[in-house]
Amino acid sequence: MIIYSPSYLINDPQLYWGSVTIEGRNLAYYSRQLLTLGLEVQERIFSLKVLVAGCGALGSTLVEELARLGVGDITVVDPDLVEESNLHRTHLFTERDVGRPKAEVCSERAREINPDVRVTPVLDVVDNSNAEELIKGKDFVFDALDNVNSRLILNDACVKEGVPLIYGGVSGEYGSAMIVVPKATPCLSCFMQPSEGEDTCETVGTTPLTVTLVATVQAQLMLEALRGQVREGLIYLDSRRLSLDNVKILRNPSCEACSREEFMYLKGLRIRCGIVRTDESPPPGSPKPFVRRGKEGLLICYDKCFKKVGR
Protein backbone atom coordinates (compact mmCIF):
# COMPACT_ATOMS: atom_id res chain seq x y z
CA MET A 1 0.00 0.00 0.00
CA ILE A 2 1.36 3.44 -0.92
CA ILE A 3 0.71 6.26 1.55
CA TYR A 4 1.21 9.72 0.07
CA SER A 5 2.11 12.80 2.06
CA PRO A 6 1.01 16.39 1.48
CA SER A 7 2.16 17.76 -1.87
CA TYR A 8 3.95 20.78 -0.35
CA LEU A 9 6.66 18.41 0.85
CA ILE A 10 7.45 17.25 -2.66
CA ASN A 11 10.04 19.99 -3.27
CA ASP A 12 12.28 18.55 -0.56
CA PRO A 13 13.12 14.95 -1.46
CA GLN A 14 14.28 14.14 2.06
CA LEU A 15 11.08 15.44 3.67
CA TYR A 16 8.89 14.09 0.91
CA TRP A 17 10.18 10.54 0.75
CA GLY A 18 10.68 10.51 4.51
CA SER A 19 6.95 10.63 4.92
CA VAL A 20 6.08 8.04 2.28
CA THR A 21 6.06 4.32 2.80
CA ILE A 22 5.65 1.40 0.41
CA GLU A 23 4.83 -1.91 2.02
CA GLY A 24 6.17 -0.57 5.32
CA ARG A 25 9.43 0.76 3.88
CA ASN A 26 10.45 4.28 4.72
CA LEU A 27 11.42 5.82 1.41
CA ALA A 28 13.83 8.31 2.99
CA TYR A 29 16.47 5.57 2.80
CA TYR A 30 16.04 5.48 -0.96
CA SER A 31 15.45 9.19 -1.58
CA ARG A 32 18.57 9.82 -3.72
CA GLN A 33 18.15 6.54 -5.55
CA LEU A 34 14.51 7.34 -6.30
CA LEU A 35 15.65 10.57 -7.95
CA THR A 36 17.74 8.42 -10.30
CA LEU A 37 15.72 5.25 -10.85
CA GLY A 38 12.18 6.50 -10.31
CA LEU A 39 9.39 4.95 -8.25
CA GLU A 40 8.38 2.32 -10.81
CA VAL A 41 11.82 0.69 -11.02
CA GLN A 42 12.27 1.03 -7.25
CA GLU A 43 9.00 -0.78 -6.62
CA ARG A 44 10.15 -3.58 -8.90
CA ILE A 45 13.41 -3.79 -6.94
CA PHE A 46 11.47 -4.03 -3.67
CA SER A 47 9.49 -6.97 -5.02
CA LEU A 48 12.48 -9.00 -6.24
CA LYS A 49 13.52 -12.40 -4.95
CA VAL A 50 17.10 -13.22 -5.89
CA LEU A 51 19.69 -15.90 -5.25
CA VAL A 52 23.36 -15.04 -4.89
CA ALA A 53 25.32 -18.23 -5.54
CA GLY A 54 28.65 -17.92 -3.78
CA CYS A 55 29.54 -15.49 -1.04
CA GLY A 56 33.21 -14.88 -1.71
CA ALA A 57 34.52 -11.60 -3.04
CA LEU A 58 31.96 -11.21 -5.84
CA GLY A 59 29.03 -12.65 -3.87
CA SER A 60 29.57 -10.53 -0.76
CA THR A 61 29.93 -7.38 -2.87
CA LEU A 62 26.74 -8.29 -4.72
CA VAL A 63 24.83 -8.89 -1.46
CA GLU A 64 25.87 -5.45 -0.24
CA GLU A 65 24.91 -3.72 -3.49
CA LEU A 66 21.58 -5.55 -3.78
CA ALA A 67 20.73 -4.74 -0.15
CA ARG A 68 21.51 -1.05 -0.69
CA LEU A 69 19.38 -1.07 -3.86
CA GLY A 70 16.50 -2.42 -1.75
CA VAL A 71 16.05 -5.89 -3.27
CA GLY A 72 13.25 -7.43 -1.21
CA ASP A 73 14.47 -10.97 -0.67
CA ILE A 74 18.04 -12.21 -1.01
CA THR A 75 19.13 -15.81 -0.50
CA VAL A 76 22.88 -16.33 -0.34
CA VAL A 77 24.36 -19.80 -0.60
CA ASP A 78 27.91 -20.77 0.40
CA PRO A 79 29.26 -23.30 2.93
CA ASP A 80 32.73 -21.74 3.17
CA LEU A 81 34.26 -19.94 6.14
CA VAL A 82 35.83 -16.48 6.19
CA GLU A 83 39.63 -16.66 5.99
CA GLU A 84 42.20 -13.97 6.57
CA SER A 85 43.18 -14.13 2.88
CA ASN A 86 39.62 -13.06 1.92
CA LEU A 87 39.65 -9.80 3.82
CA HIS A 88 41.52 -7.56 1.36
CA ARG A 89 38.90 -7.96 -1.38
CA THR A 90 35.66 -8.12 0.58
CA HIS A 91 33.68 -5.19 1.94
CA LEU A 92 31.55 -7.12 4.40
CA PHE A 93 34.13 -9.29 6.19
CA THR A 94 36.39 -8.08 8.97
CA GLU A 95 39.07 -9.75 11.09
CA ARG A 96 36.55 -10.68 13.76
CA ASP A 97 34.63 -12.75 11.18
CA VAL A 98 37.52 -15.11 10.42
CA GLY A 99 36.32 -18.70 10.93
CA ARG A 100 32.61 -17.83 10.63
CA PRO A 101 30.39 -18.98 7.74
CA LYS A 102 30.59 -16.46 4.91
CA ALA A 103 26.87 -16.66 4.10
CA GLU A 104 25.91 -15.90 7.71
CA VAL A 105 28.29 -12.94 7.96
CA CYS A 106 27.02 -11.58 4.61
CA SER A 107 23.42 -11.89 5.76
CA GLU A 108 24.05 -10.15 9.10
CA ARG A 109 25.91 -7.24 7.46
CA ALA A 110 23.28 -6.86 4.75
CA ARG A 111 20.55 -6.61 7.41
CA GLU A 112 22.58 -3.95 9.23
CA ILE A 113 23.03 -2.03 5.97
CA ASN A 114 19.33 -2.19 5.11
CA PRO A 115 16.94 -3.64 7.70
CA ASP A 116 14.13 -3.65 5.10
CA VAL A 117 15.78 -6.48 3.21
CA ARG A 118 15.10 -10.13 3.99
CA VAL A 119 18.38 -12.05 3.71
CA THR A 120 18.57 -15.81 4.13
CA PRO A 121 21.88 -17.66 4.38
CA VAL A 122 22.09 -21.22 3.04
CA LEU A 123 25.18 -23.11 4.20
CA ASP A 124 25.52 -25.40 1.21
CA VAL A 125 27.30 -25.83 -2.10
CA VAL A 126 25.56 -25.45 -5.48
CA ASP A 127 25.61 -28.78 -7.31
CA ASN A 128 23.30 -30.95 -9.36
CA SER A 129 21.52 -32.22 -6.23
CA ASN A 130 20.14 -28.81 -5.21
CA ALA A 131 20.53 -26.28 -8.05
CA GLU A 132 16.94 -26.52 -9.30
CA GLU A 133 15.52 -26.22 -5.78
CA LEU A 134 17.72 -23.20 -4.95
CA ILE A 135 16.58 -21.17 -7.96
CA LYS A 136 12.87 -21.99 -7.67
CA GLY A 137 10.71 -18.84 -7.44
CA LYS A 138 13.65 -16.46 -7.95
CA ASP A 139 13.47 -13.46 -10.28
CA PHE A 140 17.23 -13.34 -10.83
CA VAL A 141 20.11 -15.65 -9.98
CA PHE A 142 23.58 -14.14 -9.56
CA ASP A 143 26.46 -16.44 -10.38
CA ALA A 144 29.33 -15.52 -8.06
CA LEU A 145 30.80 -19.01 -8.01
CA ASP A 146 34.48 -19.79 -8.41
CA ASN A 147 34.66 -22.67 -10.88
CA VAL A 148 33.32 -23.46 -14.32
CA ASN A 149 31.64 -26.78 -13.47
CA SER A 150 29.42 -25.26 -10.76
CA ARG A 151 28.56 -22.44 -13.15
CA LEU A 152 27.45 -24.89 -15.84
CA ILE A 153 25.20 -26.72 -13.36
CA LEU A 154 23.62 -23.43 -12.27
CA ASN A 155 23.25 -22.39 -15.92
CA ASP A 156 21.46 -25.65 -16.75
CA ALA A 157 19.06 -25.15 -13.84
CA CYS A 158 18.29 -21.53 -14.80
CA VAL A 159 17.77 -22.29 -18.50
CA LYS A 160 15.55 -25.27 -17.64
CA GLU A 161 13.40 -23.29 -15.19
CA GLY A 162 13.42 -20.05 -17.21
CA VAL A 163 15.10 -17.94 -14.53
CA PRO A 164 17.45 -15.13 -15.66
CA LEU A 165 21.07 -15.76 -14.65
CA ILE A 166 23.70 -13.06 -14.27
CA TYR A 167 27.23 -14.47 -14.50
CA GLY A 168 30.33 -12.74 -13.17
CA GLY A 169 33.93 -13.92 -13.01
CA VAL A 170 37.27 -12.34 -12.14
CA SER A 171 40.89 -13.21 -12.79
CA GLY A 172 43.66 -10.82 -11.87
CA GLU A 173 42.71 -7.34 -13.06
CA TYR A 174 40.27 -8.76 -15.60
CA GLY A 175 36.67 -9.79 -15.32
CA SER A 176 33.61 -10.70 -17.30
CA ALA A 177 29.86 -10.58 -16.83
CA MET A 178 26.84 -11.63 -18.86
CA ILE A 179 23.09 -11.89 -18.46
CA VAL A 180 21.41 -15.08 -19.62
CA VAL A 181 17.71 -14.76 -20.37
CA PRO A 182 16.68 -18.34 -21.11
CA LYS A 183 15.71 -18.99 -24.73
CA ALA A 184 16.21 -15.30 -25.62
CA THR A 185 19.98 -14.84 -25.25
CA PRO A 186 23.01 -17.12 -25.42
CA CYS A 187 23.63 -19.09 -22.23
CA LEU A 188 26.92 -20.01 -20.53
CA SER A 189 26.87 -23.48 -22.04
CA CYS A 190 26.92 -21.90 -25.53
CA PHE A 191 30.61 -21.05 -25.04
CA MET A 192 31.92 -22.59 -21.79
CA GLN A 193 33.15 -26.16 -21.51
CA PRO A 194 33.49 -28.11 -18.26
CA SER A 195 36.89 -28.51 -16.71
CA GLU A 196 38.18 -32.07 -16.79
CA GLY A 197 41.53 -31.54 -15.13
CA GLU A 198 42.79 -30.38 -11.79
CA ASP A 199 44.88 -27.58 -13.29
CA THR A 200 42.12 -25.02 -13.04
CA CYS A 201 42.13 -25.30 -9.25
CA GLU A 202 45.12 -23.00 -8.99
CA THR A 203 44.75 -19.92 -6.81
CA VAL A 204 43.96 -16.88 -8.92
CA GLY A 205 44.76 -13.46 -7.55
CA THR A 206 42.67 -10.34 -7.94
CA THR A 207 42.14 -6.91 -6.43
CA PRO A 208 39.17 -5.48 -4.50
CA LEU A 209 38.83 -2.90 -7.28
CA THR A 210 38.32 -5.46 -10.04
CA VAL A 211 35.91 -7.48 -7.90
CA THR A 212 33.80 -4.40 -7.14
CA LEU A 213 33.71 -3.41 -10.81
CA VAL A 214 32.52 -6.86 -11.93
CA ALA A 215 29.88 -7.16 -9.17
CA THR A 216 28.64 -3.67 -10.05
CA VAL A 217 28.33 -4.64 -13.73
CA GLN A 218 26.30 -7.72 -12.66
CA ALA A 219 23.94 -5.59 -10.54
CA GLN A 220 23.65 -3.04 -13.35
CA LEU A 221 22.66 -5.83 -15.77
CA MET A 222 19.77 -6.57 -13.41
CA LEU A 223 18.70 -2.89 -13.50
CA GLU A 224 18.89 -2.93 -17.30
CA ALA A 225 16.65 -5.99 -17.41
CA LEU A 226 14.15 -4.33 -15.02
CA ARG A 227 13.97 -1.44 -17.47
CA GLY A 228 13.20 -3.89 -20.26
CA GLN A 229 16.63 -3.83 -21.90
CA VAL A 230 18.52 -7.07 -22.28
CA ARG A 231 22.10 -6.94 -23.42
CA GLU A 232 23.26 -9.86 -25.52
CA GLY A 233 26.81 -11.08 -25.21
CA LEU A 234 29.66 -10.87 -22.78
CA ILE A 235 30.98 -7.76 -21.08
CA TYR A 236 34.78 -8.02 -20.82
CA LEU A 237 36.34 -5.76 -18.25
CA ASP A 238 40.01 -4.79 -18.06
CA SER A 239 40.54 -2.70 -14.94
CA ARG A 240 44.21 -2.25 -15.78
CA ARG A 241 43.32 -0.39 -18.98
CA LEU A 242 40.02 0.87 -17.54
CA SER A 243 38.19 -0.59 -20.51
CA LEU A 244 34.85 -2.32 -20.75
CA ASP A 245 34.00 -4.03 -24.03
CA ASN A 246 30.93 -5.84 -25.29
CA VAL A 247 31.93 -9.12 -26.90
CA LYS A 248 29.43 -10.59 -29.33
CA ILE A 249 28.42 -14.11 -28.31
CA LEU A 250 25.86 -15.96 -30.42
CA ARG A 251 23.49 -18.71 -29.37
CA ASN A 252 25.08 -22.03 -30.20
CA PRO A 253 22.60 -24.18 -32.19
CA SER A 254 24.16 -27.31 -30.67
CA CYS A 255 24.23 -25.96 -27.08
CA GLU A 256 23.29 -28.77 -24.69
CA ALA A 257 21.24 -26.39 -22.54
CA CYS A 258 19.46 -23.64 -24.46
CA SER A 259 19.24 -25.39 -27.87
CA ARG A 260 19.08 -29.15 -27.28
CA GLU A 261 17.54 -28.85 -23.77
CA GLU A 262 19.48 -31.88 -22.52
CA PHE A 263 20.66 -30.20 -19.30
CA MET A 264 23.37 -32.83 -19.03
CA TYR A 265 25.18 -31.11 -16.15
CA LEU A 266 22.10 -31.48 -13.92
CA LYS A 267 22.59 -35.23 -14.30
CA GLY A 268 25.98 -34.97 -12.63
CA LEU A 269 29.21 -33.09 -13.16
CA ARG A 270 32.13 -33.57 -10.84
CA ILE A 271 33.25 -30.35 -9.16
CA ARG A 272 37.02 -30.53 -8.82
CA CYS A 273 37.88 -27.29 -7.09
CA GLY A 274 36.66 -25.28 -4.16
CA ILE A 275 34.18 -26.90 -1.79
CA VAL A 276 32.43 -30.19 -2.45
CA ARG A 277 29.91 -32.32 -0.62
CA THR A 278 31.28 -35.28 1.34
CA ASP A 279 29.66 -38.27 3.03
CA GLU A 280 31.48 -37.66 6.31
CA SER A 281 29.49 -36.65 9.38
CA PRO A 282 30.47 -34.33 12.21
CA PRO A 283 31.28 -35.99 15.54
CA PRO A 284 28.20 -36.14 17.82
CA GLY A 285 27.76 -32.97 19.87
CA SER A 286 30.43 -31.04 17.93
CA PRO A 287 30.11 -27.26 17.53
CA LYS A 288 28.79 -25.74 14.29
CA PRO A 289 30.77 -25.24 12.24
CA PHE A 290 32.98 -28.21 13.05
CA VAL A 291 36.30 -27.74 11.25
CA ARG A 292 39.11 -30.24 10.82
CA ARG A 293 42.22 -29.82 8.70
CA GLY A 294 43.37 -33.05 7.07
CA LYS A 295 45.70 -34.22 4.31
CA GLU A 296 43.03 -33.74 1.64
CA GLY A 297 42.10 -30.25 2.74
CA LEU A 298 39.67 -28.67 5.14
CA LEU A 299 36.58 -30.47 6.40
CA ILE A 300 33.73 -28.06 7.26
CA CYS A 301 30.60 -29.51 8.89
CA TYR A 302 27.24 -28.06 9.86
CA ASP A 303 24.47 -30.67 9.77
CA LYS A 304 26.18 -31.78 6.54
CA CYS A 305 29.91 -31.90 5.81
CA PHE A 306 31.89 -30.32 3.00
CA LYS A 307 35.48 -30.70 1.91
CA LYS A 308 37.55 -27.79 0.70
CA VAL A 309 39.88 -29.07 -2.00
CA GLY A 310 42.32 -27.84 -4.56
CA ARG A 311 43.12 -24.48 -3.02
Binding site: A57, G169, V204, Y236
Partner: protein, 84 residues
Amino acid sequence: MNDMVKVILRGPLSNVFGKEEIKVDADNLLTLLYKLDRGSVIISNSKIRSGYIILVNGVDFRLLGDLSVKDTDVIEILPVNHGG
Protein backbone atom coordinates in the same frame (compact mmCIF):
# COMPACT_ATOMS: atom_id res chain seq x y z
CA MET B 1 53.10 -17.07 -48.42
CA ASN B 2 49.80 -17.04 -46.54
CA ASP B 3 47.85 -14.05 -45.30
CA MET B 4 48.87 -12.07 -42.21
CA VAL B 5 45.86 -12.34 -39.94
CA LYS B 6 45.26 -9.93 -37.06
CA VAL B 7 44.94 -11.56 -33.61
CA ILE B 8 43.71 -9.57 -30.60
CA LEU B 9 44.68 -11.01 -27.22
CA ARG B 10 42.41 -10.08 -24.35
CA GLY B 11 42.95 -9.94 -20.61
CA PRO B 12 45.96 -11.80 -19.17
CA LEU B 13 46.83 -13.23 -22.59
CA SER B 14 48.28 -9.87 -23.61
CA ASN B 15 50.74 -10.21 -20.70
CA VAL B 16 51.53 -13.83 -21.56
CA PHE B 17 52.29 -13.01 -25.20
CA GLY B 18 53.72 -9.55 -24.46
CA LYS B 19 51.39 -7.81 -26.94
CA GLU B 20 47.72 -6.98 -27.29
CA GLU B 21 47.78 -7.47 -31.04
CA ILE B 22 49.80 -9.86 -33.17
CA LYS B 23 49.83 -10.59 -36.93
CA VAL B 24 50.17 -14.27 -37.76
CA ASP B 25 50.94 -15.76 -41.16
CA ALA B 26 48.25 -18.43 -41.63
CA ASP B 27 45.34 -19.44 -43.86
CA ASN B 28 43.59 -21.63 -41.28
CA LEU B 29 42.57 -20.97 -37.68
CA LEU B 30 44.22 -24.07 -36.24
CA THR B 31 47.50 -23.36 -38.05
CA LEU B 32 47.30 -19.82 -36.75
CA LEU B 33 46.86 -21.01 -33.17
CA TYR B 34 49.79 -23.47 -33.46
CA LYS B 35 52.05 -20.73 -34.82
CA LEU B 36 50.94 -18.26 -32.15
CA ASP B 37 50.96 -20.57 -29.14
CA ARG B 38 54.41 -22.08 -28.92
CA GLY B 39 54.15 -22.27 -25.12
CA SER B 40 51.00 -24.46 -25.12
CA VAL B 41 48.97 -21.81 -23.35
CA ILE B 42 45.92 -22.20 -25.57
CA ILE B 43 46.57 -25.56 -27.25
CA SER B 44 47.48 -28.73 -25.39
CA ASN B 45 47.78 -32.25 -26.85
CA SER B 46 46.49 -31.00 -30.21
CA LYS B 47 43.31 -29.66 -28.60
CA ILE B 48 42.22 -26.15 -27.80
CA ARG B 49 42.09 -25.95 -24.01
CA SER B 50 38.75 -25.23 -22.37
CA GLY B 51 38.48 -21.79 -20.84
CA TYR B 52 39.04 -19.72 -23.98
CA ILE B 53 36.62 -17.96 -26.27
CA ILE B 54 38.01 -17.71 -29.79
CA LEU B 55 36.10 -15.38 -32.06
CA VAL B 56 36.56 -15.04 -35.81
CA ASN B 57 35.11 -11.66 -36.81
CA GLY B 58 33.03 -11.75 -33.63
CA VAL B 59 31.70 -15.28 -34.13
CA ASP B 60 32.68 -18.24 -31.94
CA PHE B 61 34.88 -20.48 -34.11
CA ARG B 62 32.83 -23.53 -33.07
CA LEU B 63 29.85 -22.07 -34.91
CA LEU B 64 31.82 -21.81 -38.15
CA GLY B 65 31.91 -24.67 -40.63
CA ASP B 66 34.93 -23.28 -42.43
CA LEU B 67 38.03 -22.49 -40.38
CA SER B 68 39.99 -20.82 -43.17
CA VAL B 69 41.14 -17.28 -42.40
CA LYS B 70 42.33 -14.36 -44.54
CA ASP B 71 44.06 -11.05 -43.97
CA THR B 72 40.83 -9.11 -43.55
CA ASP B 73 39.73 -11.38 -40.66
CA VAL B 74 40.13 -10.45 -37.00
CA ILE B 75 40.68 -13.19 -34.44
CA GLU B 76 40.00 -12.41 -30.76
CA ILE B 77 41.08 -14.76 -27.99
CA LEU B 78 39.58 -14.25 -24.54
CA PRO B 79 40.25 -16.31 -21.44
CA VAL B 80 36.97 -16.91 -19.60
CA ASN B 81 37.21 -15.59 -16.03
CA HIS B 82 36.14 -18.02 -13.32
CA GLY B 83 37.34 -16.50 -10.06
CA GLY B 84 34.65 -15.44 -7.66
